[in-house]
């Protein structure tokens, strides 16, 4: 069956949404929420998108896309360029290598997987930051941020599954 121009355009636009949503989460993560004590431990939203789409649709969120998302995160958050880019790419690599394991698993397992991946990402970010600045940043804050990130994951995961089943169902 030959697709019309508009049908093809529709598929392309739908296909880039995982990448686009990841970038949106990077930007949303920068919005000041004015909640006392929240800024220091704000969840790392883009990591959840990287994890989710790498498990379910790595074809739509390739490594180069998470690299770019990581660079944007670095640029906007004021962190040294390359740290989040490296962490996101390594997360992508780790998740792709375990894809067979993740296939068809229940949400609890996916969540548990995320808690491990996020722990790895936090430690990596902490170490890279420490090496870059030759000084240790507060590990306590990093740990609380990790807990908040893992805690928020189900909400975002649910939204992303919805998106996947509606917008990306035909791709």
């Amino acid at each position: 069956m030959k697709l019309t121009f508009w049908q093809r355009l529709d598929l392309i636009v739908r296909g880039v949404t995982p990448f686009f949503l990841t970038l949106v989460l990077v930007i949303l993560g920068q919005v000041p929420l004015h909640i006392p004590g929240f800024a220091e431990v704000a969840p790392l939203l883009p990591l959840m998108a990287v994890y989710h789409w790498t498990i379910y649709r790595p074809d739509l969120l390739p490594a180069i896309a998470v690299f770019i998302a990581g660079l944007l995160q670095d640029a906007l958050s004021g962190m040294p360029f390359g740290i989040n880019a490296a962490v996101f790419v390594i997360v992508h690599m780790a998740v792709v290598s375990q894809q067979v394991f993740f296939t068809g698993r229940s949400f609890l397992i996916i969540w548990l997987g995320f808690s491990l991946v996020a722990a790895g990402a936090t430690v990596m970010t902490w170490l890279l930051t420490a090496v870059f600045y030759s000084a240790f940043t507060s590990f306590e804050a990093a740990f609380v941020q990790y807990l908040v990130t893992v805690g928020v994951f189900p909400v975002l995961a649910w939204l992303q599954v919805r998106w996947q089943q509606s917008v990306l169902a035909q791709i």
């Binding site: 930007i27 993560g29 920068q30 919005v31 000041p32 929420l33 004015h34 909640i35 006392p36 004590g37 800024a39 220091e40 431990v41 704000a42 379910y56 649709r57 790595p58 074809d59 390739p62 490594a63 180069i64 690299f67 990581g70 660079l71 944007l72 640029a75 906007l76 958050s77 004021g78 962190m79 040294p80 360029f81 390359g82 740290i83 880019a85 490296a86 790419v89 390594i90 992508h92 690599m93 792709v96 894809q99 067979v100 296939t103 068809g104 970010t125 902490w126 890279l128 870059f132 600045y133 000084a135 940043t137 507060s138 306590e140 804050a141 990093a142 941020q145 996947q164 089943q165 169902a169």
Partner: protein, 297 residues
């Protein structure tokens, strides 16, 4: 179920073996190269960052408004519910302030007289540039915010950023319409301060916790809990006398300061254009009369 079928479909073509390994290696190496480049030529990376921030700032400006409005509504609701208590508190505070006002007037007059006697050269009046905080990355690894005022508004690197409560931080990177402010709590923030009462000089160093520490105190200096810390003005980057915080903890772990400014309350900030060059440029020390060597690194 539908989801699972989908998954099976995509398992059949995972990224293609060796080629993808090289792809990952390339990207990770690129990321590390960027980190090294950032170490070697921080200025260039800051310019790249500034232009990206400039591009995203208008979007963030729009996105940050609902959150700020909601915050204000919550505040006003809370204020309504304890109007009476607040009113009583303000009355007694007003009483106290009137007494302070009288004292301040007397001191100002006396100060003016003494300045006249000493023939003191007047210090330049600072100008202010007001900006909204449109981006707060959050996170434990960096303490900085994005402000919607940039080079075209007259912001330049090294300027002090304040609110009515006290010092927020200093301008770290400037784009044309947005600038990045390094908070006093950031790991890279080092600000020359004095203990207000004793005039003991020190450096306020952030460590990415919400309690920055006083370091480089002169030997034998005594600091006690509750002492106010203000900027010293040494080094020429900051105007002197901006309130920073109070000594919160004084023990073996060092002297922790509780800043007056709360990161989560930041909405509008003022960039102080003091007419002095930043600490990173050549500070015109001679113009100040006394060489502020103590504040120079």
């Amino acid at each position: 179920m539908k989801n699972r079928q989908h998954l099976g479909h995509h398992i059949s073509h995972p990224d293609k073996g060796v080629a993808s390994r090289f792809g990952y290696l390339g990207l990770v190496l690129a990321a590390f190269a960027l980190m090294l480049l950032g170490k070697a030529d921080a200025g260039m990376m800051e310019r790249v960052r500034a232009s990206i921030s400039d591009g995203v700032a208008p979007v963030l400006d729009v996105l940050s408004r609902p959150a700020a409005n909601l915050d204000r509504m919550v505040d006003e609701f809370a204020a309504l519910s304890n109007l009476r208590a607040e009113n009583a508190r303000l009355r007694s505070e007003n009483q106290r302030l009137i007494e302070w006002q009288a004292a301040a007037r007397k001191l100002a007059a006396e100060n003016n007289q003494l300045k006249g006697l000493l023939n003191l050269a007047p210090v330049a009046e600072p100008g202010f540039i007001t900006g909204r905080v449109v981006g707060d990355s959050g996170g434990a690894f960096v303490h900085s915010v994005l402000v919607s005022a940039g080079a075209r508004n007259g912001v330049s690197k090294g300027q002090a950023v304040i609110t009515g409560d006290g010092l927020v931080g200093r301008v770290h990177g400037v784009g044309s319409r947005a600038s990045r402010v390094l908070l006093v709590t950031d790991l890279n923030s080092h600000i020359p301060v004095v203990v207000e009462a004793t005039r003991t000089r020190a450096i306020l160093a952030g460590d990415n916790s919400d309690r920055p520490r006083l370091i480089h105190l002169p030997p034998g200096a005594s600091v006690s809990t509750g002492d106010r810390i203000v900027t010293s003005g040494h080094g020429g980057a900051f105007p002197p006398g901006i309130p920073v915080g109070v000594v919160a903890l004084h023990g073996d772990g060092g002297i922790a300061i509780k800043p007056f400014v709360h990161r989560d309350r930041l909405e509008f900030v003022r960039v102080v254009d003091y007419g002095l060059r930043g600490i990173l440029d050549v500070a015109p020390v001679g113009a100040l009369g006394t060489p502020g060597a103590g504040g120079q690194k």
